[in-house]
């Protein structure tokens, strides 16, 4: 019931023994495999020596390709902001320029790779870089063709000019050869001289061809005539000027005249005395056999195609391309050699079968960068819908999700992936939610970075979870302040209570608070849990006390007990804190307040006196406790007396 698109790639795992199973575990972007045996219960066997880490995307780890990812990310984001409501005619130049930007990023990477491939001393690395260069070359070649055919969508006339540019850009070895020839002592005698001339002609670079021919003509005055004749033919060859006033039909008529003139020269045997010039003459006539005799100079079937179009069908229409492409490919490739993936991809492009191009590229390249960005661009050009109404947007999203998920496995590139997910309307958010919570929170800084991304997108569950993880980690490492601030961010009341409890325990043990800054600035966050409120208020009391604002301090202390903010277990500590206030010369607690304090003390002592609760306390501890209560009672009654006297005095 299941059919498979392509034969799967096989990755071999080095191992020792036959008849064992392979266990596995998913990682992020990788998979762990190990030798095991699933069958037997309670099985024993010899140990498994190795666990192998298998990775998917090696490209991601190349520092040079990382630039490609970074820079194309900017272009991608820019593309997403092109306004939908502009008429498509106005958008086309923008799309073409974006396409060119993508290609220039590819070119830049390619050049850099080329340089390191040459400069590296490591042979293995050199091969690896070389491979990456050839992949990028192919990518750029395909992209450029897609740009000409789909994005720029050049009409008849201009189409050929674009294709010529395309071929010239990708068959640049002519220029190198020409440089060698020109730099030699006598260029016209150079063994590559005619190759260069013919190559120029094949690419339609006729001015350069004429300059080259001029060098030979001056050397052989006897044959000057026929060189002049060739120069004349070459100079007269018409090229369509898309910006000009000439119509395509007028151009066609002019071109036919020129063609007839070339044909006449051949029929007259004008060039019979010079086989090289005769060959050029035949090429100008688009003679298939002659063209095919120069396979080595053409290099590829698509160069053959473009040269043939140049000299036979300069006004080729986009819709006719597929016919010529197919026949050129068949003619050019040996019947024995099957077309390579690149050939099929280019052919599919000439056939305007965008989906086939994308599909073949996905399979051949094992690299989502290219298909994801190209598909996205084509989708913006509204090219996918017209082909397939149902899956257009999904195909784009599918490829972008794949690409971005790959980025997420990298320790720094994951940040780029966020923007890609943001621009996938259907599943982008779910993917981001699943991926982002797996980003390792190595440092607080990184955690805050991840958190910000989640907060900006209102991903409340992820925000909560990250804060909780950080709070738990801080607590495990006894960093109470950090734990508290993370649990406040997580709005985790239970955890905040637990940590406040720890703070209070620490205070009881040491008599000082740690992380004062945090506790002093809790603000409304204090209300998250009762215990946290108490912690904050209790600290406030100490602050007031320290600032000698005794009245306010006293009032707050009392309210902590009467409003039941303080846990009962902490009352004794609070009452002890009241002692120095009671001992002040000035009366601080009013009579009413003193009554309330006394009430609190009685409530506490009556509950403490239940024998079960402190049966395990030592006699000594009990003594201390009793002394404390006695001292408090004494202080309270003395204060009460003073307060009554004072209040009486004031009233009268």
């Amino acid at each position: 019931m299941e059919e498979v698109d392509v034969e799967p790639t096989i990755t071999n795992i080095p191992a020792l023994r036959r008849g064992k199973h392979m266990g596995f575990a998913w990682g992020q972007g990788n998979i762990f495999v190990y030798e095991t045996l699933f069958k037997a219960t309670g099985a024993t066997g010899s140990g498994s020596p190795f666990i192998h880490e298998v990775r998917k995307d090696e490209d991601i780890y190349s520092p040079i390709l990382r630039k490609l990812f970074n820079e194309s990310h900017h272009i991608f984001v820019g593309l997403q902001t092109i306004r939908e409501d502009l008429p498509s005619k106005n958008k086309k130049p923008q799309f073409v320029s974006i396409s060119k930007n993508y290609r220039s990023v590819i070119r830049a990477c390619m050049e850099e790779l080329q340089q390191v491939a040459v400069s590296t001393k490591n042979a293995e690395m050199s091969v690896q870089y070389g491979n990456q260069v050839s992949i990028l070359l192919a990518i750029e070649l395909i992209w450029n063709l897609c740009e000409v055919l789909f994005i720029d969508a050049a009409p008849a006339g201009s189409l050929l000019l674009h294709l010529l540019d395309w071929v010239r850009l990708h068959k640049a070895d002519v220029d190198e050869k020409a440089r060698d020839v020109l730099q030699s002592d006598s260029p016209a005698e150079h063994r590559d001289y005619w190759d260069v001339v013919v190559s120029y002609v094949l690419q339609g670079r006729l001015d350069e061809a004429r300059q080259m021919l001029g060098k030979k003509a001056t050397l052989t005055p006897a044959a000057n005539n026929i060189y002049k004749m060739m120069d004349n033919l070459l100079s007269k060859m018409p090229f369509y000027n898309p910006g000009g006033t000439q119509t395509l039909t007028e151009f066609d008529v002019k071109w036919r005249h020129w063609h007839e003139e070339v044909d006449r020269c051949l029929q007259d045997n004008s060039f019979a005395s010079n086989q090289h010039l005769e060959v050029i003459c035949k090429i100008l006539l688009g003679d298939e056999d002659t063209l095919l005799e120069h396979k080595d100079l053409l290099g590829t079937w698509y160069h053959f195609l473009v040269s043939r179009l140049l000299f036979c069908h300069p006004t080729v229409k986009p819709t006719e391309l597929h016919y010529y492409a197919q026949s050129c490919m068949t003619m050019f490739l040996d019947s024995r050699s099957a077309p390579e993936p690149l050939d099929s991809i280019l052919l599919a492009a000439f056939e305007f079968d965008i989906h086939q191009v994308i599909k073949d590229c996905s399979i051949a390249l094992n690299n989502w960068w290219f298909v994801a960005h190209l598909t996205d661009l084509l989708d913006h050009c509204k090219l996918l819908q017209s082909h397939n109404l149902h899956f257009g947007s999904n195909l784009r999203e599918f490829l972008l999700l794949e690409y971005a998920s790959g980025l997420f496995t990298h320790h720094s590139l994951w940040q780029l992936a966020v923007d890609y997910f943001d621009h996938c309307l259907e599943f982008g958010r779910v993917y981001l939610e699943l991926q982002i919570e797996r980003v390792p929170l190595d440092t607080e800084r990184k955690a805050l970075k991840v958190l910000r991304i989640c907060e900006q997108r209102q991903m409340s569950e992820q925000v909560r979870s990250i804060c909780k993880i950080m709070a738990m980690r801080a607590l495990r490492n006894n960093r109470l302040g950090s734990a508290l601030s993370w649990s406040i961010r997580a709005k985790d009341a239970a955890f905040a209570t637990l940590i406040s409890e720890r703070f209070l325990q620490d205070y009881c043990a040491k008599g000082t608070f740690s992380d004062l800054d945090l506790i002093d600035n809790l603000g409304p966050a204090m209300l998250l849990s009762d215990r946290l409120t108490f912690l904050g208020k209790y600290r406030e009391f100490h602050k007031l006390y320290g600032e000698k604002r005794f009245k306010e301090a006293a009032k707050l202390l009392l309210s902590l007990m009467t409003a039941k903010i303080a846990p009962r277990s902490f009352w004794m500590t609070l009452l002890t804190d009241a002692l120095p206030l009671l001992e002040q010369k000035e009366v601080i607690f009013s009579a009413d307040q003193t009554y309330e304090l006394m009430f609190c003390l009685e409530e506490l002592t009556s509950s403490l006196n239940t024998p079960s609760s402190d049966s395990d306390k030592s006699m000594q501890e009990e003594d201390v406790e009793l002394t404390k209560v006695e001292l408090l009672r004494l202080a309270l009654s003395r204060n009460l007396a003073m307060a009554i006297v004072k209040e009486g005095t004031v009233e009268t």
């Binding site: 036959r18 266990g23 699933f38």
Partner: protein, 341 residues
């Protein structure tokens, strides 16, 4: 794909399970040598063994990490009829310098009378809950009510599945629309004993887990099951390792609003792969459920990628137009296989 590095595991017997922690920075391995090892990824990307200790008195079948919200917690299960919970203690500073960590046993769960075949933490939104299943056909769900005290676990549910259990999987969906749900597989090889995958769901009213579905078409022994991450879908996707790889879709049927009975599902098989030629032993989804990995008797791990599967809902709706042009990455697979020296 390529082998990036090989790690000398140094277990004295077969490794039965390797488990990655939530962030992919730590790894735990368990073995028939009765030990568990914890591995940490260094800054340079190397895996270093930071703890190795004897955990059980029999083969350790599975090891699994709790969500990091609960700290650094592991659970293991064994042939010795127990499951255990382990917690890492932040050690002395000189231990840290030597790159070692301390794990202490917080609890041993001894309720099973037979080998404990699988252990899984429930999705984190349910709290800290641990599930075990055993060869005598019982699924047990434990809860740690106080996440700061992992020595206290209470047995919340005991569910008899009647058939020897080999594996459990929780439905990871945290949507309110989906009650808590898990699937349990049986390795009972007797075809006559019926469907080997049972689905249980929590019922708010009875406060119990009740069986809501048995996959009657899966009659051969089941070795592993895995719910896919939900991706916000209304339906659930379950992968099963039996004599082949099978993927089921479970779509809850619309309930009467007044109905309090168990959910009903429309069960549909969406894929079946027999490429392993014989028994399949493990299945597992990647984070976003775009890839399913399976391991089988052919000694291969196979990765399955199904565009159709991921976008099942959409495709279902647009069924008439499916299957023509867009086969891009429709379903391709990648093998990993042994090389025999």
């Amino acid at each position: 794909m390529f082998v990036a590095r090989s790690i000398a595991a140094d277990h004295k017997d077969l490794i039965h399970d390797v488990s990655y922690d939530f962030h992919g920075r730590r790894m735990a391995t368990c073995s028939s040598d009765q030990s568990v090892k914890v591995w940490d990824k260094s800054e340079s990307g190397e895996w270093l063994c930071t703890a190795s200790w004897k955990t059980h008195s029999g083969s350790v079948w599975r090891v699994t990490w709790a969500h990091p919200e609960f700290g650094q917690v592991l659970a293991s299960c064994s042939f010795d009829r127990t499951a255990a919970v382990w917690e890492e203690i932040v050690g002395e500073s000189n231990d840290k310098q030597r790159g070692l960590s301390h794990w202490i046993k917080r609890t041993t769960l001894v309720d099973s009378r037979t080998s404990v075949t699988d252990v899984k933490f429930a999705p984190k939104h349910m709290g800290l809950m641990l599930t075990t299943c055993s060869a005598d056909g019982v699924v047990r769900i434990y809860e740690a009510p106080d996440v700061m005290n992992l020595s206290q676990w209470s047995l919340q549910h005991e569910i008899s599945c009647k058939l020897s259990c080999s594996c459990i999987s929780w439905n990871p969906s945290s949507s309110r629309a989906h009650p808590s749900m898990f699937a349990v597989g049986s390795d009972d090889s007797n075809i006559a004993s019926g469907g080997k995958v049972q689905i249980y769901e929590y019922n708010e009213n009875t406060r119990k887990y009740g069986k809501v579905e048995t996959l009657m078409t899966v009659t051969d022994a089941v070795h592993d099951i895995a719910f896919a991450p939900n991706l916000g879908r209304s339906f659930h996707v379950l992968a099963i390792a039996t004599k082949d790889v099978r993927i089921f879709k479970l779509a809850p049927m619309r309930k009467e609003s007044s109905s309090t009975g168990p959910s009903k599902f429309e069960v549909q098989i969406v894929a079946q792969f027999d490429n392993h030629n014989s028994q399949v032993w493990r299945v597992s989804w990647n984070i976003t459920s775009t890839l399913l990995a399976s391991s089988g008797d052919d000694g291969c791990v196979r990765l399955w990628k199904g565009k159709k599967l991921v976008h099942l809902q959409q495709e279902h709706r647009r069924l008439p137009s499916v299957g023509n042009r867009l086969q891009c990455s429709d379903r391709f697979l990648i093998f990993l296989r042994w090389v025999h020296d």
